[in-house]
Symmetry: C2
DNA sequence: ACCTGAACACCGTTCAAGT
DNA sequence: ACCTGAACACCGTTCAAGT
């Protein structure tokens, strides 16, 4: 027998349990069953381990979910300062953030609803503020635009996630079905333009409005 | 003894259990302990009743939370069509929606994260679309502005709610404490302008940017 | 150091029974 | 019709025990 031989009594081989592997598995489990459906016990079984083993890598479920948020943040693309002018970088950062809602509609609520202080999330904020500073905004103006852009990206992402949820969800469709909105003529007229296939165009329109307004306020500055 | 006499064996008097009273109590319980802390058992005990009694008024917890959302919606003020010009009505509607985040920071996440199809929520959407139509926008343009304004209001409200949460929460403060943001110079510089006492000013700035942009695109229309 | 098994104090929900 | 009590199938988490 070769030196690598495993007898019948050996436990089955599996990749070692690490924070990274746990968080990545948790994210794909949330993609399947949602945040509420992602229990420590179910996650453990996905990893071939008892639920309690997870507590050797995370103090509690809150910390695990924070690691999942960092997993989302790892997908962001943060362009370096020299590669593009500030407005282009801003556009790129906002698109990158919103793309998370399209890829992980069920996990996106974590970003919007929970405090969020990982290295990568702070890095995104720093890049946005850096771009605003490069445009010549002072700290008070940057704070205003930061919250405006952030509110837009977060609110838009939530709406995207909700729209994508509905596609294969068994829940009542609401707007897409005529029934609930029947007494509301304006809702009826606008509903076709809020469909899932229009999400990108509507998002790009909002981005354009915001950045046009920002650019307009920069005219005549040193 | 008077006809209204109650013998020692009578159960204690309490207001009758109705959907309305259950939903209102659930909202104030969520204000105290958050959505996750609002269990059917705890809510029942607040109402002087076993948890299972609630299932005679709501098919499940999801329906109860929808009634809580309608309770939030009942606080909105929807101005009638004749009282103000369309832009003034829009401003009023967005302020009214965002005010919910200030009054009920722990409940606000329900509005942002859950599908939401009560009469009152549809009425708010209809009023917003009515104002946009009164400005002369067609259905496709209305859909774009509806999502832009909605994303702004929703995203901003979530940020407000998160800021208010932090005040008496035992969770780490992050930005307000210097430690986590120490390596990020722009975050450090901007943090003082993101404090809770600046929320209103920052919100009004965003509102002004959005409505200026909207008004600018209406110039020269019939 | 890493994982298991049993246990504790909770959940939402079902169901038969009470009044 | 409205509410209770017991029960079921789950939770997150603690802790002593295994290797």
């Amino acid at each position: 027998m070769s030196p690598g031989h495993r007898s019948r009594a050996d436990p089955p081989i599996r990749p070692p349990l690490t924070r990274e592997r746990i968080a990545a598995t948790a994210l794909s489990l949330i993609d399947e069953v949602g945040v509420d459906g992602c229990s420590m016990r179910l996650l453990g079984s996905r990893l071939g381990v008892e639920a309690m083993a997870l507590y050797h890598h995370f103090p509690g479920k809150g910390d695990l979910l924070e690691a999942v948020m960092d997993e989302l943040a790892a997908e962001w693309d943060l362009p370096a300062r020299g590669t593009q002018p500030p407005l282009g970088r801003l556009r790129h950062l906002v698109r990158s953030y919103r793309a998370t809602a399209l890829r992980h509609p069920r996990a996106f609520v974590l970003l919007a609803a929970r405090r969020f202080q990982t290295e990568r999330s702070l890095a995104l904020s720093e890049r946005i503020l850096e771009a605003l500073a490069d445009l010549g905004l002072d700290a008070a103006e940057s704070a205003r635009w930061f919250r405006l852009i952030g509110g837009f990206a977060s609110g838009f992402g939530m709406a995207d996630a909700a729209s994508l949820e509905r596609i294969d969800a068994p829940t009542p469709l609401g707007m897409e079905r005529g029934s609930a909105i029947a007494p509301y003529p304006h809702l009826r007229a606008v509903a076709p333009h809020l469909r899932v296939d229009k999400l990108d165009a509507v998002f790009e329109f909002g981005l354009e409005v915001l950045f046009d307004a920002l650019a307009a306020r920069l005219i005549g500055r040193p």
